[in-house]
């Protein structure tokens, strides 16, 4: 076995050009795999983050007649303990209203939050472009579009007409821009106490929360549904509500896997054919080794070791090349504001996996030449001089 390794190493060292060429071939394959994989992962993460990162991923609502969760403090607690994956639980009391401005009206949704909790989901504070967060009862913030069309500025009071016919005045302390026009256009965000004043009901209309791994939201939502004790509660999750986004993401993943598989296959065929040629090139030497008593297994191992070493060399080169490509892409392909055009996600686990795949592929590729070697009959070589 050690002799096979020594011979393999010598073979590789003596044909430096050939060795380098194969290693480069493997490394290009690995680099492409790492680059495409990281690109797709980065795209998906940024897509998921922009679509659902700043919204409720699991939402509990009530199916009772008045659509309210009566014992909401208990429901919040139960949601929190139902899974360690759950974060940022936030109750809200919502209701419709309309706003009068100049000669038009617009319908809005009044959302009463425990503001500090809701901020963890929606990141209002980070997206306030004017004014500040509400501190007292009767204060609210509104989105950019709504502010523009109603001509509202920080410090103004707005008059809201509820469905019950009451007119409520709220003081606007800040304007936010969540980059989602439906929210910017319709939300009037205030604290829970203020909302309770406006809608004199018992309880809240929903409990919202996020999860650590967004792709587990459906499973976790089932745990939440199992844990909550109040009757008539309904638990929704983003995956069930966004099937088309999910199938889009899946399609993207599958096409990325296909590319990666074909890259692997071409690397496999390349190495296999080059090694098979090198068996033919060295058939005389292998023949004499066999005449001298080397066993078929050890003779085959020479080529398996060559494949293994080429795989390792190619993987190392490929990882360097792949990371280099990624860094260049993030450094030089930039938006005008300096952020990368495509956010790239460097996942070291994935990179290590790609490297390992290359090693396994190269070793697999060496099985064909190894088999040829094993079948090589020394007499054929010696007879043919």
């Amino acid at each position: 076995m050690r002799l096979a390794f020594e011979i393999a190493l010598r073979f590789l060292k003596s044909g430096k050009g050939q060795t380098l060429l194969i290693a480069l071939g493997i490394s290009v394959g690995v680099a492409v795999q790492i680059f495409i994989g990281s690109l797709i992962q980065g795209l998906q993460i940024s897509l998921v983050d922009t679509t659902i990162g700043s919204s409720s991923q699991i939402t509990i609502t009530s199916e009772s007649d008045d659509k309210t969760i009566k014992d909401w403090k208990r429901t919040v607690y139960e949601a929190q303990i139902s899974s360690p994956e759950i974060i940022n639980v936030s109750p809200s009391l919502d209701g419709p209203a309309s706003i009068d401005y100049e000669n038009d009206t617009a319908s809005v949704i009044i959302r009463g939050f425990i503001l500090e909790d809701a901020d963890k989901i929606y990141k209002f504070k980070n997206n306030l472009y004017q004014g500040q967060f509400p501190k007292n009862r009767g204060e609210a913030i509104i989105g950019k579009e709504l502010a523009v069309k109603s001509g509202t500025e920080v410090g103004d009071n707005i008059a809201l007409l509820t469905t019950r016919g009451n007119v409520i005045t709220l003081k606007i302390t800040g304007l936010f821009d969540l980059k989602v026009s439906s929210i910017n256009d319709s939300w009037v965000v205030t604290d829970l106490k203020t909302a309770e004043d406006i809608f004199p009901t018992e309880g809240v209309t929903s409990v919202e929360m996020q999860v650590k791994d967004v792709f587990l939201a459906d499973e976790i939502s089932r745990q939440v549904a199992y844990t909550v004790s109040e009757n008539n509660l309904k638990v929704d999750n983003w995956k069930d509500l966004n099937q088309s986004l999910l199938s889009g993401l899946n399609g993207q993943s599958i096409s990325s896997y296909m590319i990666q598989i074909f890259v692997l296959v071409s690397v496999l065929l390349g190495i296999s054919s080059v090694l098979a040629i090198s068996v033919v090139q060295r058939s005389k030497q292998i023949g004499i080794l066999k005449a001298m008593g080397i066993q078929d297994k050890d003779a085959s191992l020479i080529f398996v070791f060559q494949g293994l070493m080429l795989g390792i060399l190619g993987a190392i080169l490929g990882i360097c090349l792949g990371i280099g490509l990624l860094l260049m892409f993030t450094k030089f392909a930039l938006n005008p504001d300096g952020s990368p055009v495509v956010p790239i996600y460097i996942n070291y686990g994935f990179i290590a996996l790609s490297g390992m795949f290359a090693v396994v592929t190269a070793s697999t590729a060496s099985l064909i030449p190894a088999r040829i070697t094993s079948k090589l009959n020394p007499i054929e070589v010696i007879k043919n001089g």
């Binding site: 005389k284 001298m292 008593g293 010696i382």
Partner: protein
């Protein structure tokens, strides 16, 4: 002297559909420590005979005994061990591994059965290289040696495991006459010094005459068997 190699009714037929019989009922034995030559025209079957003796080729029928052990029924693994320990080969073409130095090539048969090279084997390799007159070039790669030097390296390689039998198929076929003389005197010296049995195929009448026994193969049969 006891026989070290014994062939009984050896036949060899090549081909499946069109059968060509190369050897017909060969019965011959070789004594231990003897120095033999096989002569014959090309196509007479002498190389096939040598390859069967060396277990590189299998007889179609018949029995082959090496050191009283029947070898034609052995499996590949047993044969490779037998070849490694008992038989040394010298071919017309040296087939050295060009990636290795002369000394590494000489040590190769030892490394095949045991990777570790003890001091005495290392010294034995030096002694062999000295014996074939290659002390100065022992650390040269095979590609940096002359044809004669490479062939002498192959001779040293055939001896490293102290085999009881050396089979040589036209070992000097592509060497000039002076080098040929030189190689034969080396082989003869080895035969005397280490009691190694030699079977040498040769075209060269003068060389054959210097051996203890001349076997002539003609059309797959033993035509002549001369002993001194």
């Amino acid at each position: 002297m006891a026989n070290i190699i014994e062939l009984k009714n050896i036949n060899k037929i090549y081909g499946e559909k069109i059968k060509t019989q190369v050897l017909y009922d060969i019965n011959i034995s070789f004594e231990a420590n003897s120095f033999n030559s096989i002569i014959g025209e090309s196509g007479s079957g002498k190389s096939t005979l040598l390859n069967i003796i060396g277990t590189l080729d299998k007889p179609t029928s018949g029995e082959l005994y090496i050191e009283d052990k029947r070898t034609d029924t052995m499996n590949k693994l047993e044969l490779s061990i037998l070849r490694n320990k008992t038989i040394g080969f010298i071919f017309q073409f040296h087939y050295l591994l060009p990636e290795f130095t002369a000394k590494e090539n000489v040590l190769m048969p030892h490394k095949i059965h045991s990777y570790h090279v003890p001091k005495e084997v290392d010294e034995w390799a030096d002694e062999l290289l000295n014996f074939v007159g290659l002390s100065k070039v022992k650390n040269n790669k095979a590609t940096n040696m002359s044809g004669g030097q490479q062939q002498r390296t192959a001779i040293a390689r055939a001896l490293i495991n102290k085999p009881k039998i050396i089979l040589a198929d036209e070992p000097t076929g592509n060497l000039d006459s002076e080098t040929t003389e030189n190689v034969y005197s080396i082989l003869r010296n080895i035969n005397k010094k280490f009691n190694t049995t030699f079977i040498i195929i040769t075209h060269d009448q003068r060389i054959a005459e210097k051996t203890d026994r001349i076997v002539q193969v003609k059309d797959g049969r033993i035509n002549l068997d001369l002993r001194k």
